[in-house]
Symmetry: C2
Subunit: 200 residues, 2 copies
């Protein structure tokens, strides 16, 4: 039962979008649960219309759900602005910690901050998110910067598409909305890297 | 595997003391875990010296612990000032919700507020805590008020003793410190009521 956590010091970096789509990737392989521990309840909002192919629950309900069902995959969507103690806990509480960041200064700085507060043996990786479409080169440039600075980073980044907004509104993963197939491709491309990172 | 939660709108009402001692009561009957989801981390502080006969973990670590160990009893120590959504979650996430309150106006008012925001089918009970010693009658009077107002309340209340402070400092349950046996008696007297409440 792998446990994957999504975390970041900054809000609005695609934490919930990543949690929903990582869960969508794995839910075909086994019972999957997203634990929404963000007070904003974005994942729960996404789940409300009932079209997600996995369960989403609040943090206080998780123990009871885990008592009655066996989950193969658990994805934690965590609150922004965790303090050091919380960062340590969530790092210890998962098998892989994903820190999504858009390719911009505020996002990258917040990522560098959380990187500093992670315990030394944390299995973690940066996920470049919200990459603007070509001809903008923000994604490629940020990837270079991250690699040069020695951060562990997924080679596959996640591009920005309007389809994500439609997916939230409809309460489904992005591949279920019109024009969402190309956005979903980023996640399917990421899957092998995720599986590999879980084995590290 | 019963799940018991301690909650209250107000801080300083004996939530953590209750979590630690309810866990102490049950840990002889099976593997017991206290999940400390209060940002104050009082339960974790109590556990730090290593003298508690059960495990205490942060909320973000709980899923991983539950994956590797089978727990017979889970006790949630929750943050003060939950919002309505959080109250609903924690009510749904447990088999018994205990709301400790000292026999004073601020405590009783906060208890009445949380009572109002609980979902209708919640299995919950008030635990009178921090009852001052005789000849003060605060405990008896508060018990009358609670019963007259129709609140579900444990007949056994928990009296205030200096031994609790010594127990926190030593990182042990109260019966392990000098003079703590009489304080512990309140908990052992409560046990049957707890078991009964879990079956409701």
């Amino acid at each position: 039962m792998p446990i994957i956590s999504l975390s970041s010091f900054k809000g609005g970096v695609s934490k919930t979008t990543s949690a929903i789509h990582v869960a969508s990737l794995f839910c075909g392989n086994g019972q999957t649960l997203v634990i929404d521990s963000d007070p904003n309840r974005s994942a729960s909002t996404w789940a409300r219309p009932g079209g997600l192919p996995f369960q989403v629950c609040g943090e206080k309900e998780a123990a009871k759900l885990m008592r009655s069902q066996k989950f193969e995959f658990i994805i934690f969507d965590t609150p922004a602005r965790p303090n050091d103690l919380e960062v340590e806990d969530l790092a210890k509480g998962c098998d892989l910690l994903i820190v999504p960041t858009p390719p911009d200064i505020l996002g990258m700085d917040a990522m560098a901050l959380i990187a500093k507060s992670l315990p030394a043996n944390t299995n973690w990786k940066v996920l470049l998110s919200m990459i603007p479409p070509p001809p903008q080169k923000d994604g490629l440039e940020a990837m270079e910067v991250l690699k040069n600075q020695g951060y562990p980073v997924f080679k596959q980044g996640i591009r920005l598409y309007k389809a994500y907004k439609d997916a939230v509104a409809a309460g489904v993963p992005v591949h279920k909305v019109r024009g969402g197939k190309v956005a979903w491709q980023d996640w399917t491309n990421l899957k092998n890297e995720l599986i590999q990172a879980l084995q590290e």
